[in-house]
């Protein structure tokens, strides 16, 4: 341990990916906005204001898609609803109140509410990724039909006639409280929209940097793992989707104020296609890319497809080609590609010594001592009691687990073995909550957790699955941080704990690397660190040595034994050499039942156990 310490880098530096200076983009954008104010005539500024409102709409998609991993066709729906709500409130109330800012707030809230409602149905129904796309698409198209069918004068809310396909009009522009009644001039509106865009952009950046933003990214990267850490994935997706809906609603309100009219076309396919193209061109993972993509595409289609352009009336054709071209050739989008090009150039020219040139972390040659303060353990080992009563699980008539009753006491080390098909994995998944049992109960410290969802159990039960399930797109440090944060909900403390654990599993020098770049064995260590970071009273390890070398297998034995001093550790394992060394209480499962239990020596001496491993049947019965 101390041998390694002297060449440790501060984790903060390693875990943060190299960035261009943050103030640079802000400065450039502000300067750009000022220059454009003087360079463009009123008409140009007017166009630009509209495109900026579009940019906010694109930002809403970049947020839900790029940050939270939810692909939605529904942003135009929230945008359109925002537009209509702004129009209805502004037409009805502007005369009385002398302002339309409330209408803008109403638009934002309406977008958020509708998004939340839709999100509830989709995410709490656990609808799959592609289905989310289709449902949002269908909902938006139905809004198009529904709003289009409101041309009769009876369809009227407040003073506003919805107007069917002719649209809602005339909508007052932005009127500030105490400002002139006729609303903002073109130039003032430009600055108003610039301000709104800047605020929305900064808020989304802020959210992305907050713990919540990292949780979103974690869910995007590996939903199951996020859930196993204790994050309520459904709720967090709803949060992200609602934030996206609010942003789109605000954009819709600004657009309505800018255009003076909203028609059902905002809900139609061309609009949906445009939003996706803006984000695709800008780069879905980049929030500033949303604006860049919007401005590039809108300016190009205005130049090329408008009067005097070279492809008059052929805008859809050009957009289609852009779509296909970006998907095939530049799927990352302009801004992220430009950033990586810039970094590449920087590395080549400035000759920064990249971290990957350092020698790989030395493998463990002694049992690491636990830095208890850094890891933040409670002073006393957590006592826990896990009871399983007559637990059964059958799959279509096959009893994978049949009326198992057991009691595990923690801290302590248990090892579950058994031949293939003995029910080990099923039992494991029942404890974990991934399968609902057919019958029986699971009690944790006397409390019935049989029906508790994954994320609720996660606070008590940590897990390392057989195949490493880490967040491949997050750094090693961020992986552990997410696990620690799930428990303590304190970003700073989680950071310190993650650092301590990194040292403990010998991954400090790889803290800044993406987890997806680790070797299989290293990912196993990382996953162990993730389970530790949760610091649960119970830790389940499913074949912890799978994919490890013999040497690594031997190294992990003392680590697990040390864990068992403070936790209840239940290991499911195939590798008998490994089980031999663990010195645990061994439970042999066979045909869904507990066949034998005792120390490894007892079990080894048990003829019947030897028989079931070898496939002889004389002690086993006739099945």
């Amino acid at each position: 341990m101390s041998v390694e310490r002297h060449r440790l880098h501060p984790v903060e530096e390693l875990s943060a990916p190299p960035r261009y200076p943050r103030w640079a983009s802000t400065l450039i954008l502000t300067a750009g906005a000022v220059i454009l104010n003087f360079a463009l005539p009123d008409f140009g500024l007017h166009l630009l204001s509209g495109w900026l409102a579009d940019g906010i709409l694109a930002l809403s998609l970049a947020f839900v898609w790029g940050q939270a991993g939810i692909f939605s066709f529904g942003q135009p729906a929230f945008f359109g609803i925002g537009g209509y709500i702004y129009g209805i409130i502004a037409i009805t109330c502007a005369d009385a109140t002398g302002e339309t800012v409330t209408a803008l707030i109403g638009a934002t809230l309406a977008g958020a509410c509708f998004a939340a409602l839709l999100a509830y149905f989709m995410f709490y129904g656990r609808v799959g990724e592609v289905y989310v796309g289709i449902i949002t698409l269908a909902v938006t198209l139905v809004l198009y039909t529904v709003v289009g069918a409101t041309s009769a004068p009876t369809y009227r809310i407040g003073e506003a006639f919805i107007g069917g396909y002719n649209g809602l009009r005339p909508i007052p522009g932005i009127i500030l409280p105490g400002g002139p009644d006729q609303g903002l001039t073109v130039r003032e509106l430009y600055w108003f929209v610039v301000g709104a865009a800047a605020i929305v952009y900064l808020i989304s950046i802020w959210i992305a940097k907050r713990p919540l933003g990292r949780v979103f990214v974690g869910i995007r990267d590996n939903e199951l793992r996020a859930e196993l850490l204790g994050y309520d994935v459904r709720w967090h997706k709803l949060e992200a989707f609602t934030i996206g809906g609010a942003i789109a609603g605000l954009a819709g309100g600004l657009f309505a104020a800018w255009a003076g009219v909203v028609t059902p076309d905002v809900f139609f396919l061309p609009q949906m296609a445009l939003v996706v193209i803006w984000v695709l061109v800008g780069g879905r993972t980049s929030l500033v890319g949303a604006f860049a993509g919007t401005l590039v595409v809108q300016a190009l289609s205005f130049k090329l497809g408008g009067a005097g352009g070279i492809v008059i009336g052929q805008t859809p054709l050009v957009l289609g080609i852009v779509f296909v071209g970006f998907v095939l050739l530049l799927p990352g989008g302009l801004v992220p590609s430009a950033i990586s090009l810039w970094r590449w150039g920087q590395r080549r020219l400035v000759l920064i010594k990249p971290e990957s040139m350092q020698p790989p972390a030395a493998r463990i040659d002694a049992v690491p001592t636990v830095d208890k303060d850094a890891i933040g353990y409670e002073s006393s080992p957590a006592r826990s009691r896990l009871e399983v009563r007559a637990l059964s699980k059958s799959f279509g008539g096959h009893n994978a687990v049949h009326e198992i009753s057991l009691e595990f006491l923690g801290p302590g080390l248990y090892c579950i073995i058994g031949p293939n098909g003995a029910g080990k994995s099923t039992f494991f998944n029942l404890l974990l909550g991934r399968y609902p049992p057919t019958d029986g109960r699971i009690l944790l410290n006397g409390q019935d957790i049989t029906g508790a969802p994954l994320h609720r159990r996660a606070h008590m039960i940590g897990v390392k699955l057989q195949l490493p399930t880490v967040f491949p797109g997050l750094s090693v440090h961020e992986n552990i941080w997410l696990a620690a944060y799930a428990r303590c909900r304190d970003a700073g403390l989680a950071h310190r704990q993650a650092r301590g654990l990194l040292a403990r599993v010998r991954l400090l020098t790889r803290a800044g690397d993406l987890a997806g770049d680790l070797s299989h064995g290293e990912q196993q260590w990382l996953e162990l660190a993730i389970a530790l970071a949760q610091n649960p009273p119970i830790i389940l390890l499913d074949e912890p040595t799978a994919g490890m070398t013999r040497g690594e297998t031997l190294q992990i034995v003392p680590v697990i034994q040390q864990l068992a001093d403070r936790h209840m550790v239940i290991v499911v394992e195939h590798d008998m050499a490994f089980v031999d060394r663990l010195n645990a209480l061994v439970l042999v499962l066979h045909q869904g039942k507990v066949f034998a239990q005792g120390s490894i020596e007892d079990v080894r001496r048990n003829e019947a156990v030897v028989d079931i491993y070898l496939g002889r049947r004389k002690h086993v019965g006739d099945s």
Binding site: F71, F121, G125, R126, V127, G128, E129, V130, Y131, G133, I134, I135, L137, A138, V139, L141, V142, T145, V146, A149, F268, L269, A273, V276, L280, Q314, P316, L317, L319, G320, I321, V322, F323, V324, G325, V327, L328, P331
Partner: protein, 288 residues
């Protein structure tokens, strides 16, 4: 409500179900086997309808158009698969976006070729009277078409070499490949077949709708919902969800307005998906 009206409502509902089935089946094949959402589905329907328009313009029979449409659109499907889709297997989202690009390109090209105006095709058959009501014979024929189409699909996927391989490849691609299933060819054929059946569906509905380059957009929401609600079994599942959604749509449309019928279709679909997130046929014992 007199007996005639009941019969008419039943027939209308049936033809509405048939309409949904012929417009969704091709999508169900492509989605069911390849897990690709074909955003150009509406445009494949439109191309099928335009094939009929062109054949009729040449003074040939409508029925000949029905034969030509699957060939033409099947060829377009093969072309799209070879030039685009095959680079995007396993990247579902990218496939959605790319086919969307294709749809934009097809719409604009057809507008350049045929103009934005609606082409009408006279229904090739007259109408029959049931009591005080008259119902077009062609919509009855459409019911027959839908039945034949589903039986053919069932036969293809249960009894042909291609069908068995395609199902194998869609369930366990790696295992199927190690057993000698040529997944590349299967995917190509599946996309072509899906496109051909979509084209045929577009041709079948051509006399019932206005044929215009932008018509595809009007069908995709329903078609997608039918396929998604149907779930993993692409013939029986699609049939079940088509029956559920089509009947809902037509009954609500009959008693209220067409627009409420559309809304009811969507609401029923969303409720069905809330209850069966993987579609209503998930967990059924059948094979296709």
């Amino acid at each position: 409500m007199n007996p005639d009206e009941v019969v008419v409502i039943a027939l209308t509902a049936l033809s509405s179900v048939a309409f949904l089935l012929v417009t969704a089946s091709g999508l169900a094949i492509i989605f069911g086997i390849m897990r690709i959402i074909n955003m150009a589905h509406g445009e494949f329907l439109m191309l099928g309808a335009f094939t009929v328009v062109q054949v009729v313009r040449w003074g040939l029979s409508f029925w000949l158009g029905l034969v030509a449409a699957p060939l033409v659109v099947g060829a377009v499907g093969l072309l799209v698969e070879r030039t685009l889709i095959r680079f995007l297997y396993g990247r579902r989202l990218e496939a959605i976006l790319a086919t969307w690009g294709v749809s934009l390109i097809i719409v604009q090209s057809m507008q350049d070729l045929y103009g934005p105006l609606t082409e009408g095709i006279a229904p090739p058959l007259g109408s029959v009277r049931i009591g005080g009501f008259s119902i077009s014979q062609y919509s009855l024929v459409l019911i027959g078409f839908a039945v034949v189409m589903l039986i053919t699909m069932y036969w293809i996927f249960m009894h042909t070499r291609y069908g068995v391989m395609a199902r194998a490849a869609s369930q366990l691609p790696e295992i199927a490949a190690t057993m000698g299933v040529p997944s590349e060819r299967i995917n190509m054929l599946t996309f072509g077949l899906g496109a051909a059946i979509t084209g045929l569906g577009g041709a079948m509905i051509a006399p019932l709708v206005g044929v215009v380059p932008t018509m595809g957009a009007g069908f995709i929401a329903q078609a997608f919902m039918t396929v998604v609600t149907g779930g993993p079994l692409m013939v029986t599942g699609t049939l079940a969800s088509g029956a559920l959604l089509g009947a809902t749509n037509s009954v609500v449309s009959y008693f209220a307005t067409a627009f409420l019928g559309q809304a009811a279709l969507l609401i029923v679909a969303i409720i069905a998906l809330r209850l069966f997130p993987d579609g209503i046929s998930s967990g059924w014992k059948g094979r296709v």
